[in-house]
């Protein structure tokens, strides 16, 4: 029955129009899907690139001396500057607060184990519940900033669970192997400011230096290092716009060098340098700097991906445009007899063109509307399959697709109509 329907559709006059409408719908859906994906791919890939972790670090302004290097010489660092724990939430209140995806504070200290070896201990948030004074509530912490950690046994520390909030710890795989401990075991550590027995919740493999460290909750580390309410640094993961000339100028010469208009543009664009600047404004006595490894590469890859998608989009727009205009040309030519007849019975050229064009434009509108919704479907299929999130449908795509379809159908039909009009009716009717 299906094939019978197709056959029927192919050979009845009205159905020819359906075929044109279908082709226009396909072309329109292609254009819609590709344009929407192209416009959204930056955001989507940006989200994916967050897998590389933080792209901004915030440290105290006066942190001019180097804790770990002095420690190598056996000297105690006494005058290290700190940030205040209470200020962390302010990161979310900056102009581009919405672009701040995650952040976590760090407290670094060195602890002595039972076998008298020294080990680095880091206090941080894991999934810290934060209620901002703006009324917003969120969970922030290290989990998404260390997406490459492979928790080998046990699990991620859950701060919001009773019991692990205080004294829970995650241990790097190298250290765990050396000590012969795994999740569920406990670990006794001491510092000059106190001692504590940590319960190991998980062992992780980071593939880097962190494999020799202990990660615990912020409160635990502060207690051990005697720095209550203070933190050493903050890592921030933010969605940023790739740097351009303006951003580079602001980054190298400082925002002060910009003209007021440029400053405004820079401040209101999510460049990594402007976000850093805003963080510095929000958190007293802090220096926020981009992690070049992440920030720079991000911009590079985003630019390339976007350019790639733009070119693919151009190709598919070109393809669907040619496809549509081709079919329209073919179907107009097919009507040579009809046009010849109309001419033979004395119809004026503009009337003939009017009739044919109206029919095609009506078909194009029907096809275009159907195509827009098909394209919506295709875009969502791609969004869900690739990024597990829906593609935002930009309203600006609608006029673009509409104009494209109208131009393309006209471009496809007018030359064909003109060509047929030039023929003498007798020629057409006598089967040229």
């Amino acid at each position: 029955m299906f094939f019978r329907m197709i056959k029927g559709a192919l050979f009845r006059q009205k159905s020819k129009m359906i075929m044109i409408a279908v082709t226009i719908a396909l072309g329109a859906s292609l254009a819609t899907a590709m344009l929407n994906i192209m416009l959204d791919v930056g955001d989507k890939v940006n989200q994916e690139l967050k897998a590389y972790g933080a792209n901004i670090t915030v440290v105290p302004k006066e942190n001019s001396v180097l804790t770990d290097l002095y420690a190598l010489d056996g000297q105690e660092e006494t005058a290290a500057a700190h940030l205040k724990e209470d200020d962390i939430g302010k990161i979310k209140t900056i102009f581009w607060g919405f672009n701040i995806l995650d952040f976590t504070p760090f407290v670094n200290t060195t602890v002595v184990l039972d076998d008298e070896t020294e080990v680095k201990l880091t206090g941080t948030w894991f999934n810290h519940h934060l209620a901002l004074n703006t009324g917003e509530e969120l969970d922030a912490g290290i989990h998404s900033l260390r997406s490459w950690w492979d928790v080998k046994n046990g699990q991620w520390l859950d701060e919001q669970k009773e019991g692990t909030a205080n004294g829970g710890a995650m241990v790097g795989t190298v250290l765990a192997e050396r000590l012969g401990i795994s999740s569920g075991d406990s670990l006794h550590v001491k510092t000059s400011d106190g001692e504590k027995t940590l319960s190991v919740v998980g062992v992780f493999d980071s593939g880097g230096d962190e494999d020799e460290q202990i990660f615990t909750t912020l409160a635990t580390a502060q207690e051990l290092s005697g720095t209550k309410g203070l933190i050493d640094s903050i890592e921030v993961s933010a969605l940023t716009t790739p740097d351009n000339e303006l951003a580079k100028k602001a980054a190298t010469k400082g925002p002060g060098s910009l003209s007021p208009a440029d400053y405004e543009t820079w401040y209101c664009t999510a460049y990594v340098s402007s976000i850093c600047y805003q963080i510095q404004e929000a958190i007293p006595d802090s220096v926020a700097s981009p992690v070049r490894q992440v920030a720079e590469s991000e911009g590079n890859i985003l630019d390339k991906t976007q350019l790639l998608m733009i070119l693919i989009t151009i190709l598919s727009l070109f393809g669907s445009a040619l496809g549509i205009s081709n079919l329209v040309t073919a179907s107009v030519m097919e009507r040579s007899n009809e046009i010849g007849l109309l001419k033979a019975i004395g119809a004026r050229d503009y009337r003939i063109s009017g009739i044919v064009l109206t029919e095609i434009i009506i078909t194009a509108v029907v096809g275009g509307v159907a195509g827009y919704f098909m394209g919506y479907g295709f875009a969502q299929i791609i969004g869900q399959t690739v990024f597990n999130s829906s593609i935002e449908m930009k309203p600006m795509v609608i006029p673009i697709v509409a104009v494209l379809i109208v131009i393309v159908t006209l471009a496809g039909s007018i030359p064909a109509i003109r060509m047929l009009l030039r023929l003498r009716p007798a020629e057409v009717l006598h089967g040229r």
């Binding site: 020629e427 006598h430 089967g431 040229r432």
Partner: protein
């Protein structure tokens, strides 16, 4: 035995009887004209004789074979071998030259032979126009190409449907002259027409009206 025998043939389309119990016999070498106003069943008759349609009732015996009983595929073969068709609208393949159009018929029949095809065109006086496309030929010339194409495989019957319907008088005369020549060579001709002048020149004319044979005229003044 007659070349074509039509016995009690009816063609029924729903409530309409296009042909109603028609009996007709055509002898070998005969020139027959079928006349009648539009809607009289001429075209149906032509389609049935041309193996492009089958009667609802009755027998059509062509060269000893009842084509009313044959399958579509077999009908195509019979048409190819025994019938040469000439159409009112010529129906030439518009992208092939005159000689190629003639060769198409050879191609489906047996072997294409350009020399033979050119000879056929010569017979209809178109040798010098052989390399022209249909769009470059006048209506009369196109119809002559069509005749050459119908002749090329030496069919038992030439079946012409309003061959002069689209032609002016001069061309009409040329076509009639060719028919006369064919008749002299012994070709069986069946011409469907509503033009009395064309019917007049045939040996015998049958008149169809509302699907029935209402009259049969022997052309007394027919010159062999």
């Amino acid at each position: 035995m007659s070349l074509l025998e039509i016995k009690n043939v009816s063609k029924i389309y729903g409530p309409l009887k296009a042909l109603d119990n028609v009996n007709l016999t055509v002898e070998n070498g005969e020139w027959l004209a079928i006349m009648g106003p539009s809607g009289s069943g001429k075209s149906t008759m032509m389609n049935i004789i041309g193996c492009m349609d089958k009667p609802s009732l009755g027998e059509v015996i062509l060269d000893g074979v009842d084509i009313a009983k044959e399958s579509g595929k077999k009908l195509t073969e019979i048409r190819r071998d025994k019938i040469g068709l000439i159409f009112q609208q010529f129906h030439l393949v518009n992208y092939l030259t005159a000689v190629e159009n003639v060769m198409v018929s050879q191609y489906y029949h047996s072997m294409p032979d350009e020399k033979e095809a050119l000879e056929a065109l010569e017979r209809v006086g178109l040798k010098d126009r052989a390399k022209h496309l249909p769009s470059q030929l006048s209506g009369g010339e196109q119809q002559r190409v069509c005749i050459a194409r119908a002749l090329i495989n030496h069919p038992e019957i030439i079946l012409a449907d309003e061959p002069t319907g689209n032609l002016d008088e001069a061309n009409e005369n040329i076509v009639i002259d060719i028919f006369k020549q064919l008749h002299r060579q012994g070709t069986t001709l069946i011409v469907v027409t509503h033009d009395p002048e064309v019917a007049e020149v045939a040996q015998r004319t049958v008149v169809l009206e509302h699907g029935r044979l209402v009259n049969e005229i022997k052309n007394e003044g027919f010159e062999e």
